[in-house]
């Protein structure tokens, strides 16, 4: 399994487009920009929703409808971030694959996405009024912490 994945990574980083991204002076920064722009929407909207459930921020709307309104942008952001991230990964696939910080980041990322699906499904029920249940506060607090961990693992990638 490990070998098969590593072979896949080697094939991926030698595809013409992956080589192009790695070697071009402008393509790599452009792809990084795509990744970060997507992340701004994805992480930005998730943080807004979590903070709203934690009772911080504007109270013009209950947390439920507020969260529902941001749903399309959260997922658009993830889509953009994944496109950018996949291209960045492809440019040096086997190095990323062997990098322990990247492995942790990837694992946390999968957990984080699944976690957000749960939060999103519960949000309308949790956020009907200002009386947000304790479980919602715990869940959103955990979500904030989880994404800070994902960013931390990402920042650590070049150090390993």
């Amino acid at each position: 399994m490990q070998d098969a994945l590593l072979n896949f990574c080697k094939w991926l980083e030698n595809t013409p487009w992956a080589l192009f991204i790695g070697r071009s002076l402008w393509a790599y920064p452009v792809v990084q920009t795509i990744h970060f722009t997507g992340l701004s929407l994805w992480v930005g909207t998730i943080v807004l929703i979590d903070l709203r459930f934690l009772g911080l921020g504007g109270r013009r709307q209950p947390a439920g409808p507020f969260a529902q309104q941001l749903v399309p942008w959260t997922w658009t952001g993830l889509g953009i971030a994944v496109v950018g991230g996949t291209l960045l990964f492809a440019a040096s696939a086997s190095a990323f694959f062997r990098n322990p910080a990247f492995q942790i980041k990837f694992l946390l990322l999968v957990v984080g996405i699944a976690y957000h699906v749960v939060v999103q499904r519960k949000a309308p029920k949790w956020g009907v009024s200002e009386a947000v249940p304790l479980v919602a506060k715990l869940a959103t607090f955990t979500e904030l912490a989880l994404w800070i961990c994902v960013i931390t693992a990402a920042v650590e990638i070049p150090n390993h």
């Binding site: 701004s40 992480v43 507020f66 309104q69 941001l70 960013i151």
Partner: protein
């Protein structure tokens, strides 16, 4: 010794750059607050363009999100200053960094303009053309900031 050399070698900055956890913590703060800053601005801009969150009026959404924009900006500038200070001489000599700073100032100004104009632009019939243009310029400016930040590494050893 000029100011930037002094800054780079000052006690506080040395402690941060030589610490195993402090510099990464500063970077995490920078990215996290950047996402909050750009994320909230992007949602407001998309609302001005009429594509996001139409359940709420522009004014309501802006009033709910702008406090987070400025909190994000504050944290971003603070953490960014520490990142800058850790290699101050390298950053001031980097053209991409200087362009990034200029674009950031213009982008922040466009954010202030949007915040001050939301009431005026908030019409039941939809936002005026000027609001939509400002929103597109604002989005482009923030993408420009990120692009220049990504370009910094291309032209130096930072």
């Amino acid at each position: 010794m000029n100011f930037f050399q002094w800054l780079e070698h000052s006690y506080v900055i040395n402690t941060i750059s030589n610490s195993k956890w402090m510099y990464p913590a500063v970077e995490v703060t920078h990215f996290f607050s950047l996402f909050l800053l750009v994320g909230t601005i992007a949602v407001i801009d998309l609302r001005l363009l009429g594509v996001a969150g139409r359940r709420q009026s522009v004014t309501e959404l802006a009033e709910q999100l702008f406090p987070w924009t400025w909190i994000g900006l504050g944290l971003c500038v603070l953490s960014g200053f520490f990142m800058f200070a850790a290699s101050a001489t390298g950053f001031v000599a980097n053209t991409q960094f200087l362009i990034k700073m200029v674009v950031t100032v213009v982008a922040v100004a466009s954010g202030v303009l949007v915040q001050r104009s939301t009431r005026k632009w908030d019409r039941p019939s939809g936002t005026p053309m000027l609001a939509k243009l400002t929103a597109i310029v604002s989005l482009a400016l923030w993408i420009g900031v990120i692009l220049m930040a990504a370009e910094i590494a291309n032209y130096s050893e930072l």
